[in-house]
Symmetry: C2
Subunit: 182 residues, 2 copies
Amino acid sequence: MNLTNRLQSTAQIAIEQARDAGLPVERAEQAFSDTIRPRLVQMLSPLVIPFVRRSGVRLTELEPGRVVATMPLKRNVNHIGTMYAGALFTLAEFPGGPLLLATYGMSRFIPIVTDLRMEYVKAAKGPVTIELTLTPDEIERIEAETLATGKAEFELRGELKSRQGEVVARSVALYQMRPKRR
Amino acid sequence: MNLTNRLQSTAQIAIEQARDAGLPVERAEQAFSDTIRPRLVQMLSPLVIPFVRRSGVRLTELEPGRVVATMPLKRNVNHIGTMYAGALFTLAEFPGGPLLLATYGMSRFIPIVTDLRMEYVKAAKGPVTIELTLTPDEIERIEAETLATGKAEFELRGELKSRQGEVVARSVALYQMRPKRR
């Protein structure tokens, strides 16, 4: 999240300078962490990894415990004009990172994908959407286990759907969460 | 394989015209199918699917029953500078098509990937290579079963290795072979 981190640092420097100048900055800080940072992650995270950026994938919704992403068909067709298997993989893999950032913040944990299985059900002839969610219980378990033992395993399962709501593929991703070294 | 098909058609038209002109063309035809077509498939297949082309993947070896492909790190880094999981997926998925073309030719069968599982073992800090093979017995079984029953299931397993020979990921792809409609 280099670009997001850089923008966040810039915003924080601006807030520090305002504080040094004796201005009231609490509401600015609150607005930044509640509203601006999540929007920055949503808008910028598809741009951070060049491979992901080139696919044109977009995050249409992002909040703690939930992300929705859409992959356009354009740029991602295979030799028979339907969506390439690798673009569907990227649609299933990439949103996990922003989901975990939106859920746990940027500074405490590092998620690593250890295994990802794609099942291809039907050819995709248009844009494809995926929704990934974590329940409040699962969010709590992952956090507690990572803090207590230094790691936690968890799974994100997705259904990749056409605009008509048909399932074109399914994904099962395994992640390992670790605490960030300070 | 649109581009390869088009080049193949052009070469065949040239051979037909030579035959119509009364020239001896048997050796040209033989050279085309033995030497030129496999090289065309090897050189051009990474260019056919834009998503694959953008990754810069190359086929370094291709023959019936065997393919070797290499993915460069450049263009394919993730946010921490190692190879993005999706680039490793593409390295595992894409060479299956050319391998099957080199093994069975272009006109008889259509392979479809139905399932692909990636296991990520180690971060890749440089180019990554995969070799996929089919044994003579397996080649024969797939052909016989497809002809007899209209389809055959088979698996391609790969180890994705760094230049130093370390395994950075493993892949298991399931395919279904079907006869091409005439």
